[in-house]
Amino acid sequence: METVMSVNEPVVNEPTSLVMPRRRVIGAYLEEARSECLRYMRAPGFMLPIMLFPGMFYLLFGVFMAKSEGADAARYLLASYGVFGVMSPGLFGFGVSLALERDGGLLTFKRALPMPPGAYLLGKMLMAMAAAAVVILLLLVMALTLGHVTLNLAQAGALLLTGMLGVLPFCALGMFVGTLIKGQGAPGMLQLIYLPMSFMSGLWMPLPLLPKFLQQIAPVWPSYHLDRLALAAVGLDQQPLLPHVLVLIGFAAGFLLLAARRLRRNG
């Protein structure tokens, strides 16, 4: 399958071995995504906090403390903590890894290699989606067994899909922060975004319980819009979904463009 070309021969035409068949280009994208997933699924320092925090919060507030409030509370918190859990692989998986790889020289090395354009970002995106799926599945299992929440298959599937696609705007935000800060400063900065934003979007306690001012500015946060979608997925919100979807797409596109511009300029 491999053509060995003798380099001593005069190279008049482009040697056939230099043409990259489309099959191999697609293969390169797949390899990149596979490596990125393998690499983070094997890193307990990355996976454990991502799974433990939403898992523990849900167990505490959604399962034990919501017992008196009925199954609807457990259902409501499944959506909210699901969104809370989905945000972190986006923000940290993308932002922290980009910041570290810019610092450690891996990004420079990859840019020097003939890696297909976008494979690096696509690989990280798929990794974040896979991690988001793991978090949602974990919460679903807890909700259905310990929380006595009843969901039909379509609702569970809708929540999973919301989580996997909903991670993307946070990937874009994480990527932007990763281009601003190099190295070890990024995790702290991302925590400063992650925790207040979760709180102010009503992910920890329902929005109506928050001060009036926070309720009014909640639509500023992408996590608020993702929460509306997640609530609709589990059957708790009947409002139209399209505005929220559009806001999230706009948010993702905006930060992606900003980050791409910074990456091109500063590497």
Partner: protein, 314 residues
């Protein structure tokens, strides 16, 4: 139809032509010229801050020149088609720690149109016994070998090796040199930067010496050495340093226990004097100065020249 491929093959496969690169007020490259021919190993030498890393970065398409031409296989290095023909080993690249060596090789090979098989790459770079190990568990020297394997896995026509043997012990270094020679024998070209002059001496067809963002010498290792006329003389002698230092032909002398180390332009004259002055003299050795002395002298001259320029400008 008769074909004359000569001019095509003689085209350099990597070229810098009057390249200027500034970082703010600092001029990293100031009219740099470089030509790399097919099949040769060119060593790029120079003190820290001479502009070697910038030159490599331009040829890899990592940065853009402010002026001048940068070409890789006659193309802009930022084109992926040009980079599919190169292999890269950078000075510091922290590879994903949890991936196994075999997985890293498989990933990097997937970027190339006709890569080597995993077994062939591993054999050439001497990492066959490491394939199943996570990258983070390797020693520094083993990690360098893996990085070398990543550089050659795509069956490149041109290999960029930036300080490849830093952190390697002597045996590992010799093995890497052997692998580089094998690649050269297969027709691969290499652009090498190194701090170890013996490495350039052992491997290079040509050396290119840089300081202050310019190439100050380009030629064979022999030609570079010949630019420095100095010879090294060593012997066991009871003569005092002061006596020898008094001789006009001697440019430098030091004593290391019983052994005298003399540097002189005209070794024959000094040797004659030595033999006359000390009848008990033993273990006489005369050597041409190595690349290290030539390099030091060249860069010192360039430093002095640039100092004079600055004084004149002031």
């Amino acid at each position: 139809m008769p074909h004359t491929p000569d001019p095509i093959t003689r085209d350099p496969i990597a070229r810098l032509d009057g390249v200027v690169k500034r970082y703010g007020r600092l001029t990293a490259l100031d009219g740099a010229d470089l030509r790399l021919q097919r099949g040769e190993l060119l060593a790029l030498l120079g003190p820290n801050g001479a502009g070697k890393t910038t030159a490599i970065g331009l040829l890899l398409g990592l940065i853009r020149a402010d002026a001048g031409t940068v070409e890789l296989f006659g193309q802009d290095p930022q084109r992926i088609e040009a980079r599919r023909r190169i292999g890269v080993m950078l000075q510091n690249a922290e590879l994903p720690p949890t991936l196994r060596v075999g997985e890293l090789l498989r990933l990097t090979a997937s970027y190339y149109p006709a890569p080597r098989t995993l077994a062939e790459t591993a054999e050439l770079a001497g990492v066959s016994d490491l394939l199943k190990r996570p990258y983070a568990k390797l020693s520094g020297g083993q990690q360098r070998r893996v990085q070398f394997a990543l550089a050659l896995c795509g069956r490149p026509e041109l290999l960029f090796l930036d300080e490849p043997t830093v952190g390697m012990d002597i045996e590992a270094r010799q093995k890497l040199w052997a692998a580089i020679r094998q690649l050269l024998a297969e027709g691969c070209s290499v652009l090498l930067t190194t701090h170890y002059l013996e490495e350039a001496e052992a491997l290079a067809d040509r050396v290119c010496v840089m300081t202050h963002g310019r190439m100050i010498h380009e030629g064979t290792v022999e030609a570079l050495r010949a630019r420095v006329a100095l010879k090294r003389i060593r012997c066991l002698s009871t003569l005092s340093i002061d006596t020898v230092r008094g001789w006009p032909e001697v440019s430098e002398v030091r004593r290391d226990n019983e052994r005298l180390h003399i540097t002189a332009a005209e070794a024959e004259v000094v040797v004659r004097r030595l033999l006359v002055a000390d009848l008990q003299l033993r273990e006489l050795e005369v050597q041409r100065a190595g690349l290290a002395e030539a390099f030091t002298e060249l860069t010192r001259d360039a430093d002095e020249a640039s100092d004079t320029d600055q004084r004149e400008a002031a």
